[in-house]
Amino acid sequence: MAAVPDRGYVTIDTEECKGCGLCLEACPPRCLEFEPELNAYGVRPARYLGRGCTGCGICFYACPEPGAITVYRVAPPPKSAGTATGEASHAPAL
C-alpha cells in the first residue's frame, strides 16, 4: 500500500524478550509496542507495529537481551568503498 517501503524492520524473539519495554521508549519513530498476549514466561513481549522502522538499530542496543531483537535494513546500493569499516556500517549515528 505504501508507495515507499520502510527502510527497515525488526523481528522480536517473543520467548527471549522479558517485556522490559526499554526498546519501546528507545525507538525514535516509536514503532514498537507490547503484545496484547502474555508469553510462556508470563510477560508481554515487544512487537513491531509493522510500519515505520528506519532500521536505525537503536532498539538493539537498548535491549538487554542478547538475541531478542534482530534489525533488518534495506541493503544499500552496491558501493565500492566506505562501507567496509565494520564499525561505521551498522552502528546508529548519534
Binding site: Y9, G21, Y61, P64, E65, P66, V71, R73, V74, S89
Partner: protein, 477 residues
C-alpha cells in the same frame, strides 16, 4: 520488494543456547531491564567485530554476573569474590597473547576486591576491567554497596545512606585515574540511547588498547537495577541519568600512553632455564622394567612422631620417582615434635595421581598399636598390613587383608640402631609387594645419606626386613 539485510542480531560471541536450567536455556538469568545484558552485548559485539573471540578469556566475578560463563562463548574463569583482577593478572601474565577481560560489579570490585583492583591497576596489568556500578548489592538482595548514593535506601541503610555513619560513595574511576600506570579510564552510563552508544565506544576502545598491548584499561558502567531499586526498567534507566550521573560524572578520566618505565619490566625466563636444567624432559630416565605386573600402590604409614614415619614416606616416593612412576607424598602430623601421632600417605602410580589423599590404602605400615587399631579397618580388601610387632594384639583381628607382623623395632635394635625400624619396614614392604626394587631403595639412600655408617645400618635394616618376611613365608608355603 526491497532487499533487506540483517544489521543487528545476536552476537556469535554468545552461545546459541545457554547451559542453564532446561526451560530457561533461551534466556539470560538477568532481570527484565537489567543493565548487565546491555554491557554483555557491547563486550560481545566488540570482541566479535575485532575477531578476538577465540583469544579471549572472560573472568567472571561474584555477583549477578557470576554466570557470565553461561553466555560468553570464550574462555571462562570464575574468580573468588573480589579477586577477579588477581586472577586476570595471572592469566594475562601467563598468556600475554590472550585478551583478558575482568568483569566486576560494585560490591565485588569496590568492596571486597578493593585491594585487588587498585594493585592490579597500579601495576598497569595489561588487561581490561569492566566495572558495572549499580550503587547496590543486587545478587544478595539490596544491601548498601560502597557506591550507594548518599541518602539512598537499601536493606542495610533503611533511612538512607548517611556519610556520618557509612561514609561517602566511592568513585572508583576517579580513584584509579590517580594512579600512574593505567592508560585508559572512562565512566559511561547506560541511561539513554546516546550514552549507551558512548559506552559502546568506550568498551571497544578499552579492548582495542589491550589488543594493542598498551596497558591497563578500565571502564566504569553505570547500570540500572530495576528489581532492587524497585522501579520499572524505564524508571530505573531514568534514575541512572537523574541520580547517579550527577554523583558519578560521565567522563574520560585518563587516556594517555603508558608511562615510560626504566628497565622495561622483569626478565622473562622459564623455570627450566632458571634452574639450569637445559633440555629437561620430565621423564629423565626410561622407567625400569617392573618387577611384577603391578605398579600402582597406595600406602599409609602411621606411628609416633620420631619413628621415621614421614621420612619413610619420602623415601618411598623418591624410589617410585626414580622408577619412573607418578608419586605423591602427603604428610599429616600434630604440633608435637616427638611422640605425637604422625602419618603420611604415599601414592605410586603409572597414571597421574589425582589426589594425594589415601582414604583406603593398599598397604598400611603401622609402626605402633594405636595406628594399627585406627587405620587397619580402612585397608582395602586384599590389601596388606605390616605391623611393627611380632604378633597382632590378642583382641584385634582384621578380615580380608594379609597381615605381616614384622618386629621392626626389635630387629633394628639388634642391628644397633632402633631408629632404623622404618628401614626394616621398608624391606618388608619391598618383599611383600614386589613393586619397588631393593636396589633402587639402596640407590636412593646412597644419595640422601652422607654418613657411611648410617647407610650401612640402613642397608642391613632393609635386608633384615626382606629376610624376615621371606623366612616367615616359608612355613606357610
Amino acid at each position: 520488494m526491497s532487499d533487506y539485510q540483517v544489521v543487528q542480531s545476536k552476537s556469535p560471541v554468545f552461545y546459541n543456547r545457554y547451559e542453564r536450567k532446561s526451560e530457561l536455556q533461551h534466556q539470560t538469568h538477568y532481570c527484565s531491564g537489567c543493565g548487565h545484558g546491555i554491557a554483555h552485548k557491547l563486550v560481545a559485539e566488540a570482541l566479535s567485530d575485532m575477531g578476538l573471540q577465540d583469544r579471549t578469556i572472560f573472568v567472571s566475578p561474584v555477583g549477578c554476573s557470576v554466570f557470565a560463563y553461561y553466555y560468553f562463548d570464550v574462555g571462562n574463569v570464575q574468580a573468588a569474590h573480589g579477586r577477579t583482577p588477581a586472577v586476570a593478572t595471572a592469566l594475562k601474565r601467563a598468556r600475554p597473547e590472550s585478551i583478558v577481560i575482568a568483569y566486576q560489579g560494585d560490591g565485588d570490585l569496590a568492596a571486597i576486591g578493593t585491594a585487588e583492583i587498585l594493585h592490579a591497576a597500579n601495576r598497569g596489568e595489561k588487561f581490561t576491567v569492566f566495572f558495572v556500578n549499580n550503587a547496590i548489592y543486587g545478587m544478595t538482595g539490596g544491601q548498601m554497596a560502597p557506591t550507594t548514593l548518599v541518602g539512598q535506601t537499601s536493606t542495610t541503610t533503611p533511612w538512607g545512606r548517611r556519610p556520618s555513619n557509612e561514609g561517602f560513595p566511592l568513585h572508583m574511576a576517579e580513584l584509579i585515574a590517580t594512579l600512574e600506570a593505567p592508560v585508559y579510564v572512562e565512566r559511561v552510563a547506560l541511561c539513554d540511547n546516546k550514552n549507551i552508544m558512548r559506552a559502546r565506544k568506550a568498551v571497544r576502545k578499552a579492548i582495542e588498547l589491550q589488543r594493542d598491548g598498551v596497558g591497563f584499561s578500565f571502564v566504569e558502567i553505570l547500570s540500572p537495577c530495576p528489581t532492587i531499586w524497585k522501579m520499572t526498567p524505564n524508571e530505573a534507566r531514568q534514575w541512572v541519568a537523574d541520580k547517579m550521573v550527577p554523583v558519578f560524572p560521565v567522563s574520560v578520566f585518563r587516556d594517555r600512553k603508558p608511562p615510560a618505565i626504566e628497565n622495561g619490566g622483569p626478565r622473562q625466563i622459564s623455570v627450566i632455564e632458571l634452574l639450569g636444567l637445559g633440555e629437561f624432559s620430565p621423564a629423565v630416565e626410561e622407567p625400569v622394567a617392573p618387577r611384577s605386573g603391578r605398579r600402582n600402590l597406595t600406602i599409609k604409614i602411621a606411628g609416633f612422631g620420631g619413628q621415621g614415619v614421614l621420612l619413610l614416606g619420602q623415601v618411598l616416593a623418591e624410589i617410585g620417582l626414580r622408577e619412573g612412576l607418578e608419586v605423591s607424598w602427603l604428610p599429616s602430623y600434630g604440633p608435637e615434635m616427638r611422640s605425637g601421632s604422625a602419618h603420611c600417605h604415599v601414592c605410586l602410580s603409572t597414571e597421574p595421581v589425582g589426589s594425594p589423599l589415601v582414604e583406603h590404602p593398599d598397604v598400611l605400615m603401622a609402626m605402633n598399636e594405636i595406628s594399627l587399631r585406627k587405620f587397619a579397618p580402612q585397608v582395602v580388601s586384599g590389601g596388606v598390613v605390616i605391623y611393627n610387632r611380632d604378633a597382632l594384639p590378642a583382641d584385634f583381628a582384621v578380615r580380608q587383608v594379609r597381615v605381616s607382623c614384622v618386629p621392626a623395632s626389635e630387629l633394628a635394635d639388634q642391628l644397633g640402631a632402633a631408629k632404623a625400624a622404618n628401614m626394616v619396614m621398608l624391606g618388608a614392604l619391598i618383599e611383600l609387594t614386589h613393586v619397588l626394587p631393593r636396589e633402587q631403595a639402596l640407590a636412593v639412600l646412597e644419595t640422601t645419606l652422607h654418613d657411611g655408617a648410617l647407610l650401612e645400618i640402613d642397608r642391613r635394616a632393609i635386608d633384615a626386613g626382606i629376610d624376615f618376611v621371606r623366612k616367615a613365608a616359608v612355613p606357610a608355603a
